[in-house]
């Protein structure tokens, strides 16, 4: 029994040693954009808050990429700077009281995460892409738009810096996705229409 436990422990240790764990870290800059004149709520699901991607690649081994805190901090900062006022709620729908005091609800979701290593792509850098879906609901919980954004990042890395390079590529992918959301969201036709209807005079 004891021997079996030891063997299991050794096997677990060996398997974990073959997995490259990446925790994405970095700064979360505050976007310098004109605020959308709306008071909104934002809902970050548990999956979004703790997003982790695990993948086994024949040529590049096992990978575990944790976007968690960096992604959440970045989006908190991003959404807070984009609207007049933002509150964070713990449900994907507005309550009756919230419907009376808010103009809408924003729900960011990670649809897909993918990465390439030099062994797979044949290029000299690591790259990552993140497909975000930004759902915007009006204050009656009616979906106005699903806005899909793809963030892309790349970073060079040496033989022993694989985890660091992929972490940097992922950080840049989050940042790139944020760039598109910060710059383009307010000019989406459905968002413009919503603002014009709900907040007369907000969009010219």
């Amino acid at each position: 029994m004891e021997l079996k436990r030891l063997l299991l422990l050794a096997l677990t240790a060996m398997l974990s040693a073959c997995t490259t764990s990446v925790v994405v870290e970095g700064s979360a800059p505050t976007p310098l954009v004109k605020k959308i004149p709306a008071n909104v709520a934002v809902y970050f699901s548990e999956e979004f808050k703790t997003f982790t991607h695990e993948e086994s690649i024949e040529q590049a081994g096992n990978w575990k990429i944790d976007l968690g805190n960096q992604n959440l901090d970045f989006f908190r900062n991003l959404i807070n700077s984009m609207f007049t006022s933002v509150i964070e709620i713990d449900s994907a729908e507005l309550t009756e009281a919230q419907q009376n005091s808010l103009d809408g609800l924003v729900i960011p979701v990670i649809d897909k995460y993918g990465f390439l290593t030099p062994a797979v792509s044949g290029l000299k850098f690591y790259s990552a892409s993140i497909h975000y879906k930004i759902s915007v609901l009006d204050n009656q919980n009616n979906k106005l738009a699903d806005y899909t954004v793809v963030g892309y990042g790349k970073s060079e890395g040496g033989t022993f810096g694989a985890g660091k390079a992929l972490g940097e590529a992922t950080r840049l992918a989050i940042r790139d996705g944020g760039t598109r959301i910060a710059v383009d969201l307010s000019s989406q036709p459905t968002i413009k229409k919503w603002l014009a209807e709900k907040i007369p005079g907000a969009q010219k």
Partner: protein
């Protein structure tokens, strides 16, 4: 002391020859006050395989910030973060004509003026290996080991700086630096590297010319 001299002589002998060339095109007069005004150096990012190495822009910033008349440099990361999202690969102004559009964004002009940034230098280019050959091998056995053979690689470093005047919102000119050198690795029992560093030579040449360019005319 004697040992130090030998090391210096050995290093100078092991440094391969690099040829470099610098060219300048001026489109406006410049006049940077090195004590009050700052410069930001940005590597032009792209989504493809070729882009300016961060080590090159770091080298330029390092060389410019030293010497007799040091230039005040705003770090690239600090600049991009403070003006996020306007200097990202997909939003950065492609030409100096785009500066007017950029400065119309809320807060951009204020942030740049608050940092006293007078000039922005966009750096484009990279260092590539254009030729390589030879053969080189090392062996280790119970009786000892050693290396034998010779291998070489020729590198070409080509960079261009586009200098924009952020006060007048216009282009001030362009400077290009090219350097070429061949490195060797010879094996005579022990491996002997004879290194050419064209990237470093291009960095120093470009930094020197950039400082002269920015000085008050």
């Amino acid at each position: 002391m004697r040992n130090s001299c030998l090391v210096v002589v050995a290093i100078s002998l092991l440094t391969s020859c690099v040829t470099s060339r610098v060219e300048e095109i001026r489109t406006a007069t410049t006049g940077m006050d090195f004590t009050d005004e700052a410069l930001v150096i940005l590597g032009r990012a792209s989504y493809n395989d070729r882009e300016t190495e961060e080590s090159f822009t770091d080298c330029l910033a390092d060389v410019l910030a030293r010497g007799e008349q040091p230039v005040s440099i705003i770090p690239q990361k600090q600049f991009k973060d403070s003006l996020y999202p306007w200097f990202e690969p997909r939003t950065a102004p492609a030409t100096s004509d785009d500066l007017v559009r950029l400065f119309a964004q809320p807060g951009v002009r204020e942030r740049i003026e608050a940092s006293n940034i007078r000039y922005l230098a966009w750096i484009e280019g990279d260092t590539v290996t254009v030729d390589q050959g030879g053969s080189f091998s090392c062996t280790v056995s119970t009786f000892g080991g050693g290396c034998f053979g010779i291998t070489y690689w020729e590198q070409d470093a080509s960079y261009e700086a586009s200098i924009w005047d952020l006060e007048n919102l216009s282009s001030a000119g362009e400077i290009s630096a090219d350097a070429n050198g061949t490195s060797y690795l010879a094996g005579v029992i022990v491996p002997i590297p004879i290194m050419a560093r064209p990237g470093n030579a291009a960095c120093k040449a470009l930094a020197g010319q950039l400082k002269t360019f920015l000085k008050k005319q």
